[in-house]
C-alpha cells in the first residue's frame, strides 16, 4: 500500500493512540504523560505540515473502506480539510502546553488528558472526513469526548452545564443524522465533491432538498452556536480554561462551522444553494447571530462569559462569509475559521491566566492587572484589537476581505452588519483594556499565586504570547503563499467555479 494513502490515517492516529496510552497511565506519571502529549502533538503537526505541502502541489491523500453496505468510511486530505486540520494541529500543541501548566496539581489528570486527546482526534477526523457519513461519525465522537471535559470538576454547576451541553448537541446530532439518512436515500453516496451534487436539479426535488438543508443547518448550527441553538455555549464556561479555549477556538464551534462549509460547498454546491434561495435565509440567521451575540456580550460581568458570547457572534462571520456570493467574500469567511481560532484561543488563555494567577473572574476585578501581568495583558490586548478588527491584525484581514467581497456583489447591508458588530466589539473589549492598563488597583487580588520571577507559570505564559504573535503574523503576511488568507483563496479557486 502506498504510504501517502495512509497519511490522513496517521494524522488521526497520533492523538487516538495517545489517548489510549494516556488513559492507561497512572495518575502520578507527570513527566511521561507530558512527554507523550507533546510528542504526539508535534508528530501531528509534522504530518499535517507534510500533507499541506502535498495538497498545495495538487496531490490528494485518501483512505477508504466500506463499513455498512452502501456506506463508506473515507479519510481524505484536500485543501479545505487542511485549513481546519492545520489549525487544530497547531493549536492542539499550544493548548496541551497550556493544559499541562494549568492542571499542575489537580486530580484526575489521566482522565482529563485521555479525553482531551480523544477530543482532538475527533476534531482531526472531522477535518479529514471525506464524506458526510464519516463526518457524522467524528461529529458525534466529539460530543461524547468533550462531555467529560466539561464536567471535569464534578461540581453541581459543571454537571448541569454538561447535561445541557449533551442535550443540545445530541439532539442536534439526531437531527443531522435524520437529514443525512434522508439525503443518502435520495442521492446515494455522500462523498464531498467540489461543486456539490445539485448543479441541475428537478423542480420536484426542491422541496425535500430545502427541508434537508434546514435540518442540516439546525444539526450543525447547534455546535456552531447559531442563535437560537447557542444556549449551551455560555454555560459550558464552567469547564477548565484549556477546555474552554479548545471548545471555542478549535473543536466544537468550529466543527459546526466547518460542517456548514462542507455542506454548502461540497454537498449542495455554492451555486445551487444560492439558486434555491438557501443562502439568503442562512445569511439572515448568521447576521442576526453576529449582532445578538455581541449585544449579549456587552452585558456580561464575568470575563469568560463575555468571551463566550463574543464567540457566538464571531463564529457566525464564517457562516455569513459563505453566503456572500463572490470569491472574495467566501474567502473572507473561510479565513476567519483560522483567524477567529487564533484570536479566541489567545483571549481564553489570558482569561485562564488571570483566573489562575490572580483569582480574577469578573471584569471589574481586573483593574491594574496590566502592571501585574504585562505579558498576558499584551496578548489579551492584541486579541481584543484583533477581534475589533484593527489593522494589521488577523481580524482586520477577515473583515476587510468580507466587506470588499460583499460590496463587489452588491450586498451592502453586510458591510453595515460588519460595522455595527465592530462597534459592539469595541464597546465590550475597550472597557476591559481600560481597566487592564489605565485603572489603578484598589483592592488586593482575590486569590493570588506566585511562580518565581515570571508573572505566571511559564507553561501558562508562552502559549498566549505565541498565539498573539501568530495573529500578528497572519495579518502581516496575508498576501504571501501559505498564509491563511492565500490558502482560503486557493480553496475558493479550487472549489467554486464562479
Amino acid at each position: 500500500m502506498n504510504l501517502s494513502v495512509l497519511m490522513p490515517v496517521f494524522a488521526l492516529m497520533t492523538s487516538l493512540v495517545a489517548s489510549v496510552v494516556l488513559f492507561a497511565l497512572p495518575e502520578r506519571g507527570f513527566r511521561l504523560r507530558t512527554t507523550i502529549n507533546l510528542v504526539a502533538a508535534i508528530l501531528k503537526i509534522a504530518l499535517v505540515g507534510m500533507m499541506i505541502w502535498g495538497v498545495a502541489q495538487g496531490r490528494e491523500y485518501e483512505a477508504a473502506f466500506t463499513m455498512v453496505p452502501g456506506v463508506e468510511f473515507v479519510l481524505r486530505a484536500d485543501a479545505l480539510s487542511m485549513l481546519f486540520a492545520g489549525l487544530s494541529a497547531l493549536l492542539w500543541l499550544l493548548t496541551t502546553i497550556y493544559a499541562v501548566g494549568y492542571l499542575e496539581d489537580s486530580p484526575n489528570r489521566s482522565r482529563f488528558f485521555g479525553f482531551f486527546s480523544l477530543c482532538v482526534a475527533s476534531t482531526m477526523g472531522i477535518a479529514l472526513a471525506g464524506n458526510l457519513f464519516t463526518f457524522f461519525l467524528f461529529y458525534e465522537m466529539l460530543t461524547l469526548s468533550t462531555y467529560p471535559l466539561v464536567v471535569h470538576r464534578g461540581t453541581t454547576k459543571a454537571l448541569r452545564a454538561g447535561r445541557n451541553y449533551i442535550i443540545y448537541t445530541l439532539t442536534g446530532g439526531a437531527v443531522l443524522l435524520f437529514a443525512i439518512a434522508w439525503l443518502h436515500g435520495l442521492v446515494g453516496d455522500l462523498r464531498f465533491q467540489e461543486g456539490g451534487y445539485f448543479s441541475d436539479i428537478a423542480p420536484s426535488m426542491q422541496g425535500p432538498l430545502t427541508i434537508i438543508f434546514v435540518l442540516m443547518i439546525v444539526g450543525l448550527g447547534v455546535k456552531a452556536a447559531l442563535v437560537p441553538f447557542h444556549g449551551w455555549l455560555p454555560q459550558a464556561m464552567v469547564a477548565p480554561a484549556p477546555v474552554s479555549a479548545l471548545l471555542h477556538a478549535v473543536a466544537v464551534v468550529k466543527a459546526g462551522a466547518f460542517g456548514i462549509i462542507r455542506v454548502v460547498f461540497e454537498i449542495y454546491g455554492l451555486e445551487a444553494a444560492k439558486d434555491m434561495g438557501l443562502l439568503a435565509g442562512l445569511s439572515v440567521v448568521a447576521a442576526f447571530t453576529i449582532i445578538y451575540g455581541s449585544t449579549r456580550a456587552l452585558y456580561q460581568v464575568d470575563l469568560k462569559r463575555r468571551l463566550a458570547f463574543s464567540t457566538v457572534s464571531q463564529v457566525s462571520y464564517i457562516v455569513l462569509g459563505l453566503c456572500l456570493f463572490g470569491p472574495v467574500g467566501v474567502a473572507g469567511g473561510l479565513v476567519h475559521l483560522v483567524h477567529q481560532g487564533i484570536m479566541k484561543i489567545t483571549l481564553f488563555f489570558c482569561a485562564g491566566n488571570y483566573a489562575e494567577t490572580l483569582g480574577v473572574h469578573r471584569i471589574d476585578e481586573l483593574d491594574g492587572a496590566g502592571k501585574r501581568m504585562p505579558g498576558t495583558s499584551v496578548a489579551f490586548t492584541l486579541g481584543a484589537f484583533g477581534m475589533i478588527g484593527a489593522p494589521p491584525l488577523a481580524g482586520f484581514i477577515t473583515k476587510w476581505t468580507m466587506g470588499s467581497g460583499a460590496l463587489a456583489v452588491g450586498m451592502d447591508w453586510v458591510v453595515a452588519v460588519l460595522v455595527i458588530s465592530s462597534l459592539l466589539n469595541a464597546a465590550y473589549f475597550l472597557p476591559i483594556l481600560h481597566r487592564l492598563w489605565f485603572a489603578e488597583q484598589c483592592e488586593p487580588w482575590p486569590h493570588e499565586r506566585r511562580w518565581g520571577r515570571l508573572e505566571t507559570s511559564a507553561w501558562l505564559l508562552w502559549p498566549p504570547l505565541i498565539t498573539a504573535a501568530l495573529m500578528l503574523v497572519a495579518g502581516l503576511i496575508a498576501n504571501l503563499p501559505f498564509s491563511p488568507l492565500s490558502w482560503a483563496e486557493l480553496i475558493v479557486a479550487r472549489e467554486v467555479a464562479l
Binding site: F23, T66, M67, V68, P69, G70, V71, F73, P107, N108, S110, R111, F133, F136, L137, E140, M141, L144, Y147, P148, V151, R153, G154, T155, L159, G162, R163, I166, L170, T171, G173, A174, L177, F178, A181, W182, H184, G185
Partner: protein, 488 residues
C-alpha cells in the same frame, strides 16, 4: 464434518451439564473452562465451514420430522451460534470469578449454564417447529433456575413470575404448532413453507401464526408484556443478567422472525405488521423512560433491554409488502441490532456488576466518585452505552442506519422518529449514570476494587460491540448466506 460440528454444538453442552451437576462449584469451574474452550472452537469451526461452503439442511439420523430432528444451519444461524459462544464464554469466565463458591446454591450455576447453552444452540440450529419448542423450553427452565440462584425471597419471587410468563408463552406457541401440524401434517419449517408456496394456501392459518407470535412476543418481553423482565434481569447475579439479556430473549425473537420471514408473507397482513411495529416503538419509548427513572443501577440496564428489544420488532413492518432489497436491508439491520445489543448489553451488565461490587450499593446515586476509582469499568459501561445509543462507529449505529434506510425506502417514514427518539432517550439514561459517577461529593471513599479480569471482560465485549460497526460489511456477508443442499 459440518454434521459433527452441529451435533457437537448440541450434545457437548448437555454432556457438560450432566458432568458439572455431579461436581461442586470450584471443580465445576475447571471442567467448564475446558468445555467453553471446546465449544468456542467448534462454533468457530462451524462458522468457518458455513462461511466457505454456505448453509446446510440436515436430517439427523435420516428421519423426517416429527420423528427425527431436523437441523439446519445458514449464515444467520451460525452467526448466532458464534455470538452465543462469545457471550457465554465471557459470562462463564466472569461468573467463575464473580460468584462466591461458599454460597450453597451457586454450585447449580454450571449445570444450568450448560443447559442454557444447549437450548440456545438447539434454537439457532433447529429446523422444525417442535424441536424449536423443545429448545425454547430448555432455555426457559434453565433461565428461571439461574434467576432463582440468588436465593433471597425477592429473587425467588422474580423467578416464579418469570416462570409463569415463560410457560404461558410456550403454551401459546405449542398450541400454534399443534394447529399447524393438524393442517399440514408436517412440522418442518421448510416443508410448511414449501406447501404454502406450492399454491394450496389454507386460509385458516393466520390464527395459529398470530398465536405463536403472541407467545413468542411474551417470551421476548414485547411491550406491554414486558412486566416480568426487569425484576428477573435486575435481581439475578450480574453474569446471569448478562446471559439473559444478551441471549435468552433473543431466542424467542429468533423463532418469531424465522416464522414471519418464512410464513408472514402468506399469512400476515399489513395491519398485523404495523401493529407489531407500533408495540415495538412503544417499548422503545416507554422502556427508555422507565430506565431513566430507575433508582437501582441494574434496573436501569434491565429496562434498557425492554427498550432495545423494541427495535427488533420493526422487522415485521419493514419486511412485509416491500421489495426484496428493502426486506434484506431491514433483516440485516435487525440482525446487527441483535448482535450488537447482545454484546453491548452483556458488557453493560457485567460492568454494572463491577461498579455495584465496588461501591457496595446498587443505587445509581451511590456511584458518586467512582469515576476516579473504577474508570475502566465505567468506560466499558460508557462504550456499551454508545452502542445502545446508536452512535457511530458502533454496531448499534450500523443497525440503526440500515433501519433508517429501510424505513425511508419503504416509505414508512414514521419509524424514523422512533429510531431517533430512542437514541436520544438511551443517551439520557446512560448519561444519568455517568453524571452520578462524576460527582465529587465525598472526601473519604470506601471503595472495593474488583479483580482485574472482572474489569477486562466487559471491556472486551464493549469493544467488540463498538468494532462491529467497522466490520459490519464482512459480518453481514456471512450472515446473509442461505442454507442449501439436501431438503426433505
Amino acid at each position: 464434518m459440518t454434521l459433527w460440528l452441529m451435533a457437537g454444538l448440541l450434545f457437548t453442552p448437555l454432556a457438560w451439564a450432566v458432568l458439572t451437576l455431579l461436581l461442586d462449584f470450584s471443580k465445576g469451574r475447571v471442567v467448564t473452562w475446558l468445555g467453553i474452550l471446546v465449544q468456542v472452537l467448534v462454533s468457530l469451526g462451524l462458522w468457518a465451514a458455513v462461511a466457505s461452503d454456505g448453509g446446510f439442511l440436515y436430517l439427523l439420523g435420516g428421519w423426517q420430522a416429527p420423528l427425527g430432528i431436523e437441523l439446519r444451519v445458514d449464515g444467520l444461524a451460525v452467526t448466532f451460534v458464534l455470538l452465543t459462544a462469545l457471550v457465554a464464554a465471557a459470562c462463564g469466565w466472569h461468573a467463575s470469578i464473580y460468584l462466591d463458591p461458599g454460597k450453597p446454591w451457586h454450585r447449580y450455576f454450571w449445570p444450568l449454564f450448560w443447559f442454557l447453552w444447549a437450548g440456545l444452540n438447539a434454537v439457532w440450529l433447529g429446523g422444525d417447529l417442535f424441536n424449536l419448542y423443545v429448545g425454547l423450553e430448555l432455555i426457559s427452565l434453565a433461565a428461571v433456575g439461574l434467576v432463582a440462584l440468588g436465593g433471597q425471597a425477592d429473587a425467588l419471587r422474580a423467578a416464579i413470575r418469570y416462570l409463569m410468563a415463560a410457560l404461558l408463552g410456550s403454551l401459546a406457541y405449542l398450541l400454534g404448532v399443534a394447529l399447524i401440524y393438524g393442517q399440514f401434517g408436517t412440522l418442518s419449517l421448510a416443508g410448511v413453507t414449501e406447501l404454502m408456496n406450492s399454491g394450496d394456501v389454507q386460509s385458516g392459518l393466520t390464527f395459529p401464526l398470530i398465536l405463536m407470535l403472541l407467545g413468542l412476543a411474551l417470551k421476548t418481553a414485547l411491550f406491554p408484556m414486558h412486566g416480568w423482565l426487569p425484576p428477573a434481569h435486575g435481581i439475578a447475579r450480574s453474569p446471569v443478567s448478562a446471559l439473559l439479556s444478551a441471549l435468552v430473549v433473543k431466542a424467542s425473537f429468533y423463532i418469531a422472525a424465522r416464522l414471519w420471514l418464512d410464513l408472514g408473507g402468506h399469512l400476515g397482513g399489513y395491519v398485523l405488521a404495523q401493529l407489531i411495529g407500533v408495540l415495538g416503538s412503544l417499548a422503545v419509548i416507554w422502556g427508555s423512560w422507565l430506565a431513566f427513572r430507575q433508582v437501582k443501577l441494574k434496573q436501569v440496564v434491565a429496562y434498557s433491554s425492554v427498550a432495545q428489544i423494541g427495535y427488533l420488532f420493526l422487522l415485521f413492518p419493514l419486511t412485509w409488502g416491500v421489495t426484496e432489497a428493502i426486506s434484506q436491508q431491514a433483516q440485516q439491520g435487525i440482525t446487527l441490532q441483535v448482535v450488537s445489543h447482545a454484546l453491548a448489553k452483556a458488557a453493560m451488565f457485567l460492568a454494572a456488576g463491577n461498579l455495584i461490587m465496588s461501591v457496595g450499593s446498587n443505587r445509581v446515586d451511590a456511584l458518586a466518585g467512582v469515576s476516579r476509582f473504577l474508570p475502566f469499568s465505567l468506560f466499558s459501561f460508557g462504550l456499551a452505552g454508545v452502542s445502545l445509543m446508536g452512535l457511530p462507529p458502533t454496531g448499534g449505529f450500523a443497525a440503526k442506519w440500515l433501519l433508517l434506510q429501510a424505513s425511508l425506502a419503504s416509505g414508512q417514514w414514521w419509524w424514523l422518529g422512533v429510531l431517533l427518539a430512542g437514541g436520544l432517550l438511551s443517551a439520557a439514561y446512560v448519561f444519568r449514570v455517568y453524571r452520578a459517577s462524576f460527582i465529587e461529593a465525598t472526601d473519604t471513599d470506601q471503595f472495593y476494587h474488583p479483580s482485574r479480569s472482572l474489569e477486562v471482560i466487559p471491556m472486551i465485549l464493549a469493544l467488540l460491540s463498538l468494532g462491529l460497526g467497522l466490520v459490519a460489511e464482512p459480518v453481514l456477508s456471512v450472515m446473509s448466506l442461505p442454507f442449501e443442499g439436501a431438503g426433505p
